[in-house]
């Protein structure tokens, strides 16, 4: 696509951007529709349709309970999308606050919070998930909070390094000279300049959040049936990988397309100098 197209004074449309938008659209739009309407009720079982192959009525065929896979994928992708975004938002907001304070002040606060980060990193995520499930119970919302908390350290680290880089900039000094209090300097002056780095890491974070949720479902402590996320559908479909690969392909491809689409958008956000 190196041919130049005549548009305003910006580099030609980026191949990645188009692919990113198309992929995200293919996945996000059906999942939004899934909130209100799905071709079939994703939970009704029908023993005659057990393991039915794709047909006109059931575009993606039926699973081992005779449930329509397309409806489940639509419902599942909504759950995965919500959990992914919820986790990233939770981790990002708290991570930013932690990162801001450690980066800006340094000294003991930095030392303490960095120690907590190291502790969170070396604590096996499975044990962490078990503790959360024990305390909060399992289910969509609990999983989101559990994963969100596990994501705080990585965001804290990114924001901290950005703040250390920016805090010696001249415009930060002049903000102080203009009488701005520390909090104002941190969140009104410095934060907008890390948005771009944060945005791209948020989108990569989404990718990891979705994969982590799938991992939890793999251990059976993630989303509870008959609710389903793409991740849990994937782990359930693994047992039928030989005889009915389609069962794994449908959620698998949707998951990869969703993650791929959003990652490409992430690259675009990051690429915009």
């Amino acid at each position: 696509m190196s041919k130049k197209t005549e548009t305003n004074n910006k580099k030609s449309y980026d191949f990645n951007l188009i692919v990113g938008i198309v992929l995200t659209a293919i996945v996000v739009i059906p999942s939004l529709i899934g909130l209100f309407w799905t071709p079939y009720n994703p939970e009704t079982m029908n023993s005659s349709l057990k393991m039915a192959g794709p047909s006109l009525q059931h575009l993606m065929g039926c699973d081992n309970f005779g449930r329509d896979v397309l409806s489940r994928v639509m419902k599942g992708s909504t759950t995965t999308l919500l959990i992914g975004l919820g986790t990233v938002a939770f981790g990002c907001i708290f991570g930013t606050v932690v990162g801001a304070f450690t980066g800006y002040y340094g000294g003991i606060i930095d030392e303490i919070l960095m120690r907590c980060n190291d502790v969170m990193f070396s604590f096996p995520s499975i044990l962490l998930a078990l503790v959360f499930v024990a305390v909060l119970g399992s289910g969509k919302y609990q999983v989101t909070v559990a994963l969100g908390i596990a994501f705080i350290p990585s965001y804290a680290r990114i924001v901290r390094s950005e703040y250390i880089r920016i805090k010696n900039m001249d415009y930060v000094q002049s903000a102080k000279l203009a009488g701005a209090a520390d909090l104002r300097v941190m969140f009104v002056h410095m934060l907008p300049n890390c948005i771009r780095v944060l945005a791209s890491s948020v989108l990569i974070g989404f990718n990891n959040a979705v994969l982590a949720e799938a991992g939890l479902s793999f251990l059976g402590i993630g989303v509870q049936p008959p609710d389903a996320s793409l991740g849990s559908m994937l782990s359930e479909a693994q047992t039928y990988l030989f005889s009915k690969p389609g069962l794994a392909i449908a959620p698998g491809i949707t998951l990869i397309m969703m993650v791929l689409g959003i990652a490409l958008l992430g690259k675009k956000v990051d690429g915009k100098k």
Partner: protein, 248 residues
């Protein structure tokens, strides 16, 4: 003319990272005892090579750096402001010009938004830019325009003392001339005292009434401009003048 700033026996030193566990904590002395004063409405040039402590002096006057010894006396409600050297880094790229100008008013006064907007519009015209620049972002401005904006920002609180840390050295010659012109006018119209930090002796000659020459943390010579340029006493001042191609 009464003194607007008085500096008595000013010392500033930083703790250096300890090389090894046993070594006593070394402190590097940056300012080794400075004594000078600035009168109201006076432009004083501060000349010296990089690393002689010019910027540290500026920061300690502004209160950004705590002096380890000596005092800095500034008259009452005064908020000294500073104009930085690198136009690219001196303005917050994520904020509009209007936000940057109104920032000091928002923090230090209880002006209403309209009043703040008026003051900003008035100030931006004073530095020779039209009102619609208010809604631009720093990236959309040239080096010269950005320096004008940071000068405007530093004058929002009508300070009596302005510190300019090499404000023009990063600009093209023609633009340099215009900014210097602006500083001269503001000095006259607002009776503004300016500490003009620079390593370019020719620019200092054009602008300043008095000149102070600094060499690694000490003021080696301070005198009126003509005295310094016509019969420099200190060896170091002479070598500076010679390398700038000025003098006898």
């Amino acid at each position: 003319m009464d003194k607007i700033l008085e500096v008595k026996d000013l010392h500033v030193s930083f703790a250096e990272e300890r090389k090894s566990l046993f070594e006593k904590k070394k402190r590097i002395e940056v300012l080794k005892g400075l004594d000078f004063h600035i009168n109201e409405g006076e432009i004083v040039g501060l000349v010296g090579e990089s690393g002689c402590g010019k910027s540290t002096l500026a920061k300690s006057i502004l209160g950004l750096v705590k002096p380890t010894q000596g005092e800095i006396i500034i008259s009452s409600k005064e908020h000294p402001q500073m104009v930085f050297q690198d136009p690219k880094a001196s303005l917050n790229p994520a904020k509009t010009v209007r936000f940057i100008l109104e920032e000091p008013l928002r923090n230090l006064t209880d002006m209403s938004p309209e009043e703040r907007f008026e003051k900003a519009a008035e100030m931006i015209e004073k530095v020779g830019l039209s009102k619609e620049y208010l809604d631009r972002y720093p990236d959309e401005l040239s080096g010269g325009q950005r320096q004008r904006i940071s000068i405007a920002a530093s004058l929002m609180m009508d300070p009596k003392l302005l510190i300019a840390d090499e404000p023009v050295s990063a600009l093209d010659v023609t633009v340099q001339a215009q900014v210097l012109e602006l500083l001269k006018e503001l000095h006259k119209s607002l009776n503004l005292a300016i500490i003009f930090i620079s390593h370019d002796l020719r620019v200092v000659y054009q602008l300043c009434d008095r000149v102070m020459v600094m060499k690694n943390g000490l003021i080696v010579e301070q005198n009126t401009r003509d005295e310094i340029y016509r019969n420099p006493k200190h060896e170091y001042t002479k070598s500076l003048l010679k390398s700038a191609g000025i003098g006898l």
